[in-house]
């Protein structure tokens, strides 16, 4: 993508953040047959920020999204907030590692970060509820990360293609 002026860059990042907050907030109401499984649509904007701007911008976008969406939903520092924070932390770390050090495509990175988002949430649940057996739900989240990661990864490719035009 051609070099953007600071104002255009800031505007684009802010718009990505606004869209990711919107997706984060409406996603729980989308009907999915498996309890606790989400598509992770907001993650698309995080990956878009990673590929358009870089690591710092993706981290800002992901963490600001969790904090602002939790504030708007009135669950800041509640259990849901810590689950989102743990999930987004681990998924962002994995996305950065795969982006920097591996031959994976955007779709592969999306699948990897989806899987580790689930792991982050399970680790947070284990810590909050003080029971290691929360790991029982990990295979379900891990397995569902493949279709959800493929969907979000494919959407991310399409979004990037259109933005870069």
């Amino acid at each position: 993508m051609r070099k953007l002026s600071p104002t255009r860059r800031l505007t684009l990042i802010t718009m990505l953040l606004a869209m990711s907050i919107l997706l984060h907030m409406i996603e729980p109401s989308l009907p999915i047959a498996i309890p606790g499984v989400k598509l992770g649509l907001a993650n698309i904007l995080g990956l878009v920020a990673l590929y358009l701007f870089g690591v710092k911008e993706m981290l800002i976008l992901n963490f600001m999204r969790v904090i602002i969406a939790s504030l708007l939903r009135g669950i800041i520092f509640g259990t849901g907030f810590w689950l989102s924070l743990a999930g987004v932390t681990l998924s962002s770390i994995v996305a950065i590692i795969l982006y920097k050090k591996s031959p994976f495509s955007i779709t592969g990175i999306s699948v990897g970060s989806s899987a580790f988002h689930g792991l982050g949430q399970i680790l947070a649940l284990m810590f909050i509820n003080q029971t290691v057996m929360m790991i029982y739900w990990l295979p379900l989240l891990w397995f569902s990360a493949v279709p959800t990661g493929l969907i979000t990864g494919t959407l991310c490719v399409q979004v990037l293609k259109r933005i870069r035009k």
Partner: protein, 129 residues
Amino acid sequence: MLKLNRWDKLLIIFILISSIALYATMEAFVRATTSEKTVAIVTYRDQEVMRIDMSKDASYVVDGTLGEVTIEVKDREIRVEKETSPYHYCSIQGWVKYANIPIVCLPNHIVILIQNTEDAPNGEDSVIQ
């Protein structure tokens, strides 16, 4: 439309195989560690509020953060029958019969965990309501 390279495919295969292997291991573990006599421990905000004898079919009500949570025991299986929450994940989860599989009702801060009575500190017949 869907473009995957060799590494993406390997990652997907690894995730699918590891999730199936982990599920099989967990399932074998909970089946092997569930004894004949079990109790269900109900906690609210990490505090035990009820201990349910799994051998007696009955319904119980505990207070959660968003309202009452109705728990049903039938044929040594337990479920959340009714609760007030945005998405009703814990009632959708359905029946659980093996020890150590948690039923988590996050919005209500209620966790139900079946334990073998040998682990229960108050003896196998204790039921507190």
